[in-house]
């Protein structure tokens, strides 16, 4: 029971802050709301017994990506939106949202899931530890995708330096 209460609290804050992301006029306040919703997501991960996911969610999204976004907003010195409401997107948005809701509920009720569990059971996770399991899987089973991703990131870094610092 208290878990459900806590979940409703966190989920409520997550929903409200996600709405504020699009509803706020000041871009910095939007960014703050987005950080808040990321933080709520991290809390939900903790409730799902995935503390490592929660920590990386905060470190990567709230701590790195959002700092970059806030930086850009600050340096461009964007001020509060002064123009009128944009209403032409609302109707289309509502239709898309309702359709998505239908698709998701269809999946949930008539899903092909059998309920069979794999080798990663909650008992194993609490015994060995989430971090260690992820680390073992990433550096043995999924080593090649990991290496490819890191090379891709390296290429992106070098490319961005070359593009940004042409004059050097």
């Amino acid at each position: 029971m208290p878990e459900i209460l806590f979940f409703s609290l966190v989920a409520g804050v997550a929903i409200i802050s996600s709405i504020l992301v699009v509803a706020m006029r000041n871009p910095i306040n939007c960014a703050l709301s987005l950080i808040m919703s990321f933080f709520c997501m991290a809390t939900l991960y903790v409730m799902l017994d995935a503390p490592f996911m929660a920590a990386t969610q905060v470190i990567v999204y709230a701590g790195a990506i959002m700092v970059l976004i806030v930086f850009v907003i600050m340096l461009l010195n964007m001020r509060t939106e002064t123009s009128k409401n944009y209403v032409h997107g609302v109707l289309v948005g509502c239709i898309v949202a309702v359709l998505t809701l239908f698709v998701i509920s269809g999946f949930l009720t008539k899903s092909p899931l059998t309920g069979a569990t794999g080798s990663m059971t909650p008992e194993l996770i609490t015994k060995v530890g989430h971090t260690e399991l992820i680390g073992r899987a990433m550096f043995s089973q999924f080593l090649l995708p990991f290496e490819i991703t890191s090379i891709l990131l390296l290429v992106a870094i070098v490319g961005s330096v070359i593009l940004a610092k042409r004059k050097l």
């Binding site: 503390p51 905060v58 709230a62 701590g63 790195a64 700092v67 971090t131």
Partner: protein, 364 residues
């Protein structure tokens, strides 16, 4: 006798609340008296007396300062973005304080037959084993990365060029040095094999402190401490509030309690950083006779933390401030490559000599 609330015995909750209260009161008192200690220590190092008027040797100075700040007029600049301006001090203050939830400040003590580990986010299960957050270090890193927002927002929302420049400097500095500090921590995880602070401290028993497990870990300890100083904007890296250039940096436009909150956040961050360094490199609460007298362990922890805080103040009294480009060059061109070398060297040492406490085994 054994009341249960939600599947856990009632004393579990009492112990939890007691630990939270004790730790937070300790942090608040230390924050208050760290400001006094800093003025006193720097004063004596510069051959003057420091505060002397309020109370015996100025001992009531923090209370006087607090009262003064509390009764000052609250000013919000007319062109500031009010919401961000108001929440910025809170965002700076809260992460600084809640990092303490995962730091073990003592061994497991037994009160009236109940085993209580001296760490807020930990409990003893039915078999007596201590369970804590198994990503403790990542939790601290996550919170420290949230602390940037307080400073960035303060700088931006004040709508003043000094504040903005201070905020930009602070965030660039924190992000750059977070990298080197995080890489220095990897050497610790290579030896400990876990992210749980409880187990990291347990692994350093018997003077097997990580700082002198091998030369590379010692290097990592030094680099982590320096990078932490830069991350919390302490001298010699206090460029975000360089008075000579930026008035007071990101908190130029702040007054009254909101200014006090930034001040508290700064000192709380310093205590947190010292506590983390002690936990990861200097054996946490370990010291002689903790098995026989478990209550000694928090005292050892506090003594180690206070020694590091003294070191921070000593550094402040000794070194001049870095120039901004030197600071960035130091972080990216010196500390970052060195930590990479330390990681490789540490790996070689572990595979050739082993991760064990070889220094301790020499004396044993």
């Amino acid at each position: 006798m054994e009341y249960e609330i939600l599947g856990l015995p009632a004393w579990y909750y009492i112990a939890m609340v007691a630990k939270v209260l004790v730790v937070f009161v300790w942090v608040l008192l230390t924050v208050a008296y760290a400001t006094y200690a800093e003025r006193k220590i720097i004063g004596h190092m510069q051959v003057r007396l420091g505060p002397m008027r309020t109370g015996w040797h100025g001992l009531l100075q923090p209370i006087a300062d607090g009262l003064k700040l509390f009764f000052k007029e609250e000013i919000i600049p007319a062109e500031a973005s009010t919401f961000a301006f108001l929440v910025a001090p809170l965002i700076a203050l809260v992460p600084a304080f809640i990092s303490f939830a995962v730091i073990p400040f003592g061994t497991t003590i037994t009160v009236m037959g109940c085993k209580i580990p001296l760490q807020i986010a930990a409990y003893a299960d039915k078999s007596g084993g201590v369970i804590d957050v198994n990503v403790g270090v990542l939790y601290i890193l996550a919170l420290s990365s949230l602390g940037v927002y307080g400073i960035v927002l303060a700088g931006w929302s004040s709508n003043s060029k000094y504040s903005l420049l201070g905020g930009l400097r602070a965030s660039a500095q924190m992000i750059s040095y977070e990298l080197a500090a995080g890489l220095a921590l990897i050497t610790v995880f290579m030896v400990s094999g876990t992210l749980s602070l409880q187990q990291i401290v347990a692994d350093q028993a018997g003077f097997g402190w990580y700082a002198w497990r091998n030369p590379f870990l010692f290097g990592a300890f030094i680099i982590f401490f320096i990078c932490s100083l830069a991350e919390i904007n302490r001298t010699p890296f206090d460029l975000p509030e360089a008075e000579t250039e930026l008035v007071s940096g990101f908190c130029t436009e702040y007054s009254s309690m909101k200014y006090a909150m930034f001040f508290m956040a700064e000192y709380a961050n310093m205590i947190t950083v010292c506590a983390i360094t002690v936990t990861l490199f200097l054996g946490g609460w370990h010291g002689p006779f903790t098995d026989a007298f478990p209550l000694l362990s928090p005292l050892y922890f506090i003594a180690k933390v206070y020694s590091l805080i003294f070191l921070c103040m000593w550094i402040r009294a000794t070194y001049p401030r870095y120039r901004y480009d030197q600071l960035m060059g130091l972080g990216w061109k010196f500390f970052l490559p060195i930590t990479l070398v330390l990681i490789v060297g540490n790996g070689l040492w572990i595979s050739v000599i082993g991760a064990g406490n070889w220094l301790g085994s020499l004396f044993a």
